[in-house]
């Protein structure tokens, strides 16, 4: 008797220990969200102990032998088993599945470029979507990416509730999508109702963040150009800012080398005091012809001997001085202020910001077939600005004979399509870009950090590298264009039968049957 009583308490103890272990395991797993060894061990040992308890109980009571117990236990075990089997089958089905996109234009399939890129991801990449609502379409696209590779992750974040995360990314607006890989972050696009997450943009950003190509910028030297050092006329601040943007910079002396290096993304020619040699001009010309890019910063009063080259682009340099007498106390008449930036990728974010150009020359363009020229820096209109030819005279006065009225163009961005018949073997460039600014002072130490001057320089270099364009050419997904043309008869049949005939048949049959049964 005593032994049985002792066993009973022992049994109860077992039961409670088993239960607590299972619960503890479940809670640990749920809280840490990691079903590692500890929670699993707790749960399994708990189940084992409960099993022991069942065995012990069955020895001391006839409860186990009752038929109803047996039946309900059988039912319970069978149900649990079926649930487990179904769960396992579904688990396997999600791991090993066959998926086919039956839409004609493969609307829900990633382009091969995207697939390949995602499949080759070596380190985790995460997409952050900062939006209040989760758009199912965006989610579907991101899910498609993730199915290719578990290294690709995504998370929807409501910037209102998790502003700490939003702050970290510098989110300014709802719908911003960021890509993160390690420490690098990049804005992909801003999604809104009409502009959903696009595969084209996402894959291209992915490409950029995975393979950050470091563009190489060469500064021509040897003709009294602006030095790259920290002197007053130097450009060390500009060079440093380029370095921060992942550009590599190097001086280039074309008298020592016969051609521009093939790894040059941009060649900067900043205010040569003496003209370039013919061979050097030819080297620059060849460089441009194979898809090279040039940033020219030319002060007035010097002749770089580039006129032949520039005339091919329809560019003419003016040797007059741009003056601005709009009354700016801080700068004086020899420092034109620019607040009008036209419409161009270089200057699109500038708004009405200020940049200034001490001792600048205007630039004129004439249309040339194949060259697309966009003015990016425009001074104020006459009588505030004009191009002054007489620099000896103390009194600044507009002279109809020799001067030119504003507004003057101080900077032009040009791009020229490369001729198709001269394919370059090494590069895949299809165009060549050039930015000409009639001043170099704005980018020298001191001026560089003021107002928008530095941004004008950096954006010009960045545009000229041709790297902001989409590197992967993925065609956006479009559905097939198709219409339904219904004849009046068809429309009538559909409307009439669906709203009248069919329901009436149903109700009439119901009524007749009800009548008959009655």
């Amino acid at each position: 008797m005593k032994i049985i009583a002792k066993n009973k308490t022992w049994n109860y103890l077992l039961f409670w220990i088993g239960q607590s272990l299972v619960v503890a395991g479940l809670i640990t797993g749920l809280i840490t969200d990691q079903w590692g060894a500890i929670p699993l061990a707790l749960i399994i040992s708990g189940i084992l102990i409960i099993g022991l308890w069942l065995v012990g109980k069955s020895r001391y009571s006839s409860w186990w032998g009752r038929r109803s117990t047996q039946a309900s236990t059988n039912a319970l075990v069978a149900t649990v088993a079926v649930l487990a089997i179904l769960g396992l089958i579904n688990f396997l089905a999600t791991r090993y599945y066959f998926r086919a996109d039956l839409t004609e234009t493969q609307l829900f399939t990633l382009a091969p470029e995207s697939k390949q890129l995602v499949q080759n991801l070596q380190q985790p990449v995460k997409v952050w979507v900062f939006d209040v609502a989760q758009n199912p379409q965006d989610r579907e696209l991101l899910d498609n990416y993730r199915q290719q590779n578990p290294q690709f992750q995504f998370e929807f974040v409501d910037p209102q509730t998790r502003f700490a995360v939003a702050e970290k990314f510098g989110v300014k607006d709802y719908g911003e999508v960021y890509l993160q890989s390690g420490n690098r972050r990049q804005l992909v696009q801003t999604v809104n109702v009409s502009d959903r997450l696009s595969e084209v943009k996402l894959t291209n950003s992915l490409q950029q963040i995975v393979n950050p190509t470091s563009a190489k910028v060469y500064f021509l030297q040897g003709h009294g150009e602006r030095p790259l050092d920290g002197s007053e006329n130097g450009m060390s601040q500009a060079v440093e800012a380029l370095g921060n943007k992942n550009y590599t910079t190097a001086p280039l002396n074309l008298a020592e080398k016969s051609s521009v290096p093939s790894d040059a993304n941009v060649l900067v020619i900043a205010d040569p005091k003496r003209g370039l040699l013919d061979s050097e001009v030819t080297a620059v010309q060849n460089y441009l012809n194979r898809g090279g890019n040039l940033l020219l910063m030319l002060d007035p009063g010097t002749d770089p001997k580039l006129d032949n080259l520039l005339s091919q682009w329809g560019v003419k340099l003016d040797n007059r001085l741009a003056v601005d007498v709009s009354g700016s106390v801080a700068f004086g008449p020899a420092v034109p202020i620019v607040t009008d930036y036209g419409q161009h990728p270089i200057t699109k974010d500038f708004g009405n910001g200020i940049s200034f150009y001490r001792l600048a020359r205007p630039i004129y363009t004439t249309p040339v077939p194949g060259v697309e020229a966009t003015p990016i820096l425009l001074t104020k209109a006459y009588p505030n600005t004009w191009a002054e030819s007489d620099l000896q005279n103390e009194n600044l006065q507009f002279d109809k004979e020799s001067d030119r009225q504003g507004p003057l163009t101080l900077g032009v961005a040009l791009k020229r399509k490369l001729p198709v018949e001269s394919p370059s073997p090494s590069s895949t460039a299809t165009e060549s870009r050039m930015v000409i600014i009639g001043d170099s002072d704005f980018a020298t130490n001191g001026s560089f950090l003021q107002q928008l001057n530095g941004d004008v320089f950096l954006n010009s270099v960045s545009w000229a590298t041709q790297q902001n364009q989409q590197t992967l050419s993925i065609r956006p997904k479009e559905s097939k264009n198709r219409r339904i043309n219904l004849t009046n008869l068809q429309a009538g049949v559909i409307g009439f039968s669906s709203l009248l005939v069919l329901p009436l048949i149903g109700f009439a049959a119901a009524f007749v049957l009800w009548w008959l049964r009655r």
């Binding site: 309900s72 089958i89 998926r99 039956l102 068809q490």
Partner: protein
Amino acid sequence: MGVILSNVIAIYRRELQSYFVSPLAYAIAGIFWFLAGLFLVLILMGPDGILTAVAAADLQGQQFGVPVPPIDVPYEFVRAFLDRLGWLLLFVLPILSMGLYAEERKRGTLELLATSPVTNWAVAVGKLLGVLTFFITMVVPLLALEAIALSGSTPAMPPIIPLLGHLALILLAAAILSLGMFISSLTDSTILAAVLTFAVILLLLFIDLVAKNVSGPIGEALGHLSLLKHYNNLIQGIFDTSSLVLFGSYIILGIFLTAQSIDALRFQRQ
């Protein structure tokens, strides 16, 4: 095996016959046809319908010389219609499934079924097939109307996506009916069965929303349970075996649980 099959067929025939002489079934069909027809007409030709919207966009494009982005009208139409139909099922199917066992229980014929030599799951399969056949019969006239609408599409639309969409509709209906059948076997009140079924289906449809806010593998697993997600996948034209397996699992689970619950009946009454 042959015996079981003939048993299933016998139950199936009995069940089907009862539908075609039941005024309630015809009334449900009438309501279903009216609502589905209303959706069809509104989606296709209504004031906010797809034909009207596309015609307006085309006209605008012509006036301003702006190219209209390509729209696959028949595809959008089938997708939108099947989407609304999926919601309609939510209300119609519980009414179809509520009487499957509850009615038998009320009439006292459930004991006969439970103790008959026909196995419980054969009965369940027969009943499910019967009610599913009735549902398919309700869908067929709609299919004919859709076919008329799609016959006007230029250029012609390949039938694979509408076919897959309707297969998904039938699978969704089978899964819901199967679970409804189990719930119906638990109670002798048809109304309670309908309400419970409605609640359970609503939960299974909306589990996706819950899953979106849960991260990690648990959220993924929950999201996978959602009927709506898989239905939407299929009607969009994405053929996915894991979706088919999920629908199949719900159907089998419903049949199994029904058989278990009838089995339990034998011992409760002892």
